[in-house]
């Protein structure tokens, strides 16, 4: 049995409770999220709908002109299945207006810009709707740094940031997310035919097994090799975690005073809540 086996009923309760509790204590009843047509945001939409009632969940689909049309269809399908508010807001005009000045920009720059464009729209809708922005990055992506800093990684609350992609699949099936969304190849959908696993060079199931042992169980490299993982694969993943660590931290502040934010000025985010 996979080391990533989890009790879906318990996980669902914890995550639904998380959204209900952490949103409610801020004195807000609504959330907004980007619905891409992929499984991660679909799962967050389902969790939020169960926690707050679908009428309090606003899902925005923000396609670019090169996005696969199937993505928008899947986003709509998910929104209909869980009953949340749904609107489509294309980002092509904003993104193209910028890259008209930089026609030679590569795919990475373009992809990051799209992710950040979506972020600004979500946070604007946060003010418009008095709704908190829900994050949709899973633990696999966060550990590998496979996301855009201040783009898709930005949110107020992230219900799925401590569960691996393999667990996202399991929970999505348990919560009744439409099968076509669960079964399709994960993709950042920045250009036609892009898939996560091809870009990463390994499968999510493969890397999740390693990450779980490496991060959660803290096995040594010798133990991981004894468990059948290739030495080179272990080194690659370790380097990815290390090199993307800056994405998981606040910006570094130069310390000059006796009490510096986050170093010796320490309060929980839920301070007074």
């Amino acid at each position: 049995m996979s080391a990533l086996h989890a009790n879906m009923e318990l996980l669902r309760k914890l995550l639904v409770g998380f959204v209900r509790d952490e949103v409610g204590k801020v004195g807000i009843s609504k959330v907004v999220l980007g619905l891409s047509g992929g499984i991660d945001s679909a799962l967050v939409a389902f969790i939020a709908a169960e926690a707050l009632g679908p009428e309090n969940v606003h899902a925005l689909c923000m396609p670019y002109k090169t996005s696969n049309p199937e993505s928008e269809a899947h986003a709509r399908l998910v929104a209909t299945a869980c009953g949340v508010n749904f609107s489509v807001l294309p980002i092509t005009a904003m993104v193209d207006a910028y890259f008209d000045k930089f026609p030679d920009a590569d795919n990475m720059r373009r992809g990051n810009k799209m992710a950040r464009e979506r972020m600004t729209i979500l946070f604007d809708h946060s003010a418009l709707l008095r709704a908190l922005v829900l994050g949709t990055s899973n633990k696999t992506e966060l550990l590998l740094g496979y996301g855009t800093l201040y783009g898709d990684m930005a949110s107020a609350l992230n219900p799925i940031g401590d569960i691996y992609k393999s667990q996202v699949w399991q929970l999505s099936a348990a919560m009744g997310i439409p099968a076509e969304v669960i079964e399709k190849q994960p993709s950042a959908d920045l250009w036609a035919g892009q898939t996560d696993e091809e870009e990463l060079g390994f499968s999510y199931r493969q890397v999740d097994e390693l990450l779980y042992r490496m991060v959660d169980q803290r096995l040594t490299k010798l133990e991981l090799v004894a468990d059948g993982f290739e030495s080179e694969f272990i080194d690659t993943i370790y380097a990815k975690i290390q090199n993307s660590h800056f994405k998981r931290r606040l910006p570094v502040i130069a310390k000059v005073s006796n009490r510096t934010i986050d170093r010796d000025f320490r309060y929980a985010r839920d301070w007074g809540k």
Binding site: A6, L10, G17, D21, Y267, A268, D270, W271, G272
Partner: protein, 282 residues
Amino acid sequence: MDFTAVLAQIKPKLGCTADNLTLIEMQITKAREAGADLIVFPELAISGYFLKDLVPEVALRLDSAEILRLTELSCGISIVIGFVEESDDYHFYNSALYLEDGAIRHLHRKVYLPTYGLFDEQRYLARGESFRAFDTKFGRFGMLICEDMWHLSASYILAMDGATTLICLSSSPARGIEGDSPGSATAWQKLVSTTAMFLNCRVLYSNRVGYEDGVNFWGGSEYVAASGESIVRAPLLEEDVITARVTEGALRRERTISPLMRDENLFVTLQELRRIADKRCG
């Protein structure tokens, strides 16, 4: 003496002592009106758990108006409550009070402050230095605060000091999603049951619920009889108040059937611990 205990599985707000005291007072009034003899609140019920730099802001002296108010309320019902205590020499403790008949019957300062994994207590709090049993209207009790109970010596000392009822105040975070319950809940249930059984003591375990910065506290407060059997248990993950009828008869029978504590040899234990301590000191 038989008594009725209420375990108040509440959801304190982080750093909001006034709001939490209002909630606590409401629960005390309800329990007293329902005829309960004792009400047990969780660890740090007055302040919330992940306090960090808030510790000095939420700390209360034993002669503060808030503690005097709770002490007054104990004229109608005995009260066990967890809070941050500020001492005369400005140390801050993770403390529990046993209040009875308008007086402080006992103060316990948490000895084992966890500083591993998600915990960071010893950075902010001072360590208590004793485990003492004490007499109440309902028999001889001992108090433990959360991590204290994971150290076998703590419960053992209280039981050897004559406690037949252990009260554990807890703010235990949920982690581990493999089993039917959070892994930490399963571990705690085993611990409480085993401790009760080994020491012929009944245990009143009061754990909080709610989330702080994404960390869930799992609840599951329970009364476990001296046999190790869980007699009444609150649901997981939800606010609730449960009532336990605690009888002397059940304790007497258990101690008669299974006289482990009668046969426990304090002097062998002491002799061996002294030998080990001498060896460690060189």
